[in-house]
Amino acid sequence: MSKIPLQFRHNGRDVAIFVDGGTNLLVALRELIGDMTPKFGCGQGGCGTCSVLIDGELHLSCLTLAETVAGRSVETLDGMKQGPNLHPLQRAFADNFAAQCGYCTPGMLMAAKALLDRNPSPSRADVIEAISGNICRCTGYEPIINAILAAAGGRASA
């Protein structure tokens, strides 16, 4: 099969790669670009840990054909930190013990970022709705919900 040239913005940086037709964005990010922050969980949209933002909108990278992001902007957890500092959401996740094994954390953070970017002061119900496509096995969700609400509160008061 011939390779397809593909260019897009990855965390604010232009990247150019060659992909096989049918390659999904998760594989392109992890294996061709080397960004290991989106995780492979189920490969069929059931767990949410591969979540990324495409032009600011939350998407499951395992269900997204790589070639469909041509010319678009893809954000992953790798681009979330602000220079040497953690993003307020990352800080809040640490402060609220919102990660145990950590496998869901990249997807949770991206889902949370997508929420706060469009709704800076969400209700608890908004937060629950926003992360309902992401499975967490360890925390019981409560610390994650609290972390996102804390990050939103901090942002509002800042």
Partner: protein, 340 residues
């Protein structure tokens, strides 16, 4: 259609670790020439925080800052042997092994420091901030870094220690059938409140209140996150999860995360937790372990709450809406029990 509230309670007496041929774990501690310490383990941290807790235990025993200790669990092939991370045994078994190893390493560190300061090791103490000094004379001091360098390059000594903690095999007494399978027990009590829909058989969690007695909480925040997350797993086992819903018939088994049901963030309920600290005589700094046991009382408490709500006794897990509905129909309708 009516939604019936019910409340159920369960208490557990949880043995820490297991006893099938003895239950050992080993640890090795050594200093690097930088004066930092490495704890080598093959015990696995699944995310509950065993690395954090063993780091604290090692630092406290050595008398050095926690920042000066690194816990390496990289390789179970080359690391000192551990039975595994299960049965709430990590803090208790591995923690005790780390404590023993750190105690031995501390002995060598104090000998090496004594040689440098030209005093008796018994007259030295650590300040917990990376220094060793003569008791009553803090100015006669040497940093653990300088001790490590001296041991490595001048004295030709390894500042290291070995540790093992073994709960020996408990045989069954042939006369009485008695045995002592565990040396350390944690305890918990949990009250679950549920709402059962008598038309659909669905069970919704309303709230949980629990009390856990788990020895000394070496890291209270890690204990709390374990108890919160573990209770969720208990709810999941009680009401949702199964690979074979019609066991032994494998039909309708889930094939992926879409079909394998678990409670989502919208299915959780408020959970008030009280932690009681009664130090365990044989635990590291009195710790028992909050691991597996934090899921256990949830299941019987929910089963009891469902009985209290609609009068049906489901004794197969998970308690699915189908099982609840069939049982309600079999007894001719919901029979709410007295609220206690």
């Amino acid at each position: 259609m009516t939604r019936h509230r019910g409340r159920g309670m369960a208490s557990i007496n949880y043995p820490i670790g297991m006893n099938l041929g003895g239950d050992p774990s080993q640890a090795l501690v050594h200093s690097n020439p930088s004066g930092k310490f490495t704890v080598a383990l093959s015990s696995i941290d699944l995310g509950q925080g065993m690395k954090s807790v063993t780091r604290q235990i090692c630092a406290e025993t050595l008398g050095v800052p926690v920042e000066d200790v690194y816990v390496d669990t990289a390789d179970s092939d080359t690391g000192p042997h551990c039975m595994g991370s299960f049965a709430s045994r990590g803090t208790h078994r591995v923690g005790n092994a780390v404590m023993a190893a750190a105690r031995e390493a501390r002995g060598v560190m104090m000998e090496a420091a004594a040689e440098e300061l030209e005093v008796n090791a018994a007259d030295l103490e650590t300040d917990g901030r990376g220094n060793i000094h003569v008791k009553g004379a803090p100015h006669r001091s040497i940093s653990t870094k300088d001790v490590a360098i001296a041991a490595q390059f001048r004295q030709g000594r390894t500042i290291s220690g070995r540790g093992i903690f073994l709960v020996p095999l408990s045989d069954v007494d042939p006369e009485t059938g008695e045995m002592s399978p565990a040396t350390c027990y944690a305890h918990a009590c949990l009250v679950a409140e549920v709402e059962v829909d008598d038309e659909t058989g669905e069970v919704a969690m309303v709230r949980m209140d629990s009390a856990y007695e788990l020895g000394r909480a070496l890291n209270p925040r890690l204990v709390e996150q374990q108890l919160v997350g573990g209770a969720w797993m208990g709810v999941s086992h009680a009401l949702y999860e199964t690979p074979e819903p019609y066991y032994p018939d494998p039909a309708h088994g889930p094939r992926d995360f879409v079909e394998y049901l678990m409670p989502g963030p919208g299915d959780i309920c408020p959970h008030d937790i009280a932690v009681l600290e009664r130090p365990a005589p044989d635990g590291p700094f009195g710790a028992k372990g909050p691991g597996e046991m934090c899921a256990n009382p949830v299941l019987p408490a929910i089963a009891n709450a469902i009985f209290n709500a609609v009068g049906v006794r489901i004794d197969e897990l998970p308690i699915t809406p189908e099982k609840v509905l069939r049982a309600i129909k079999a007894q001719g309708g919901a029979r709410p029990q007295a609220r206690r």
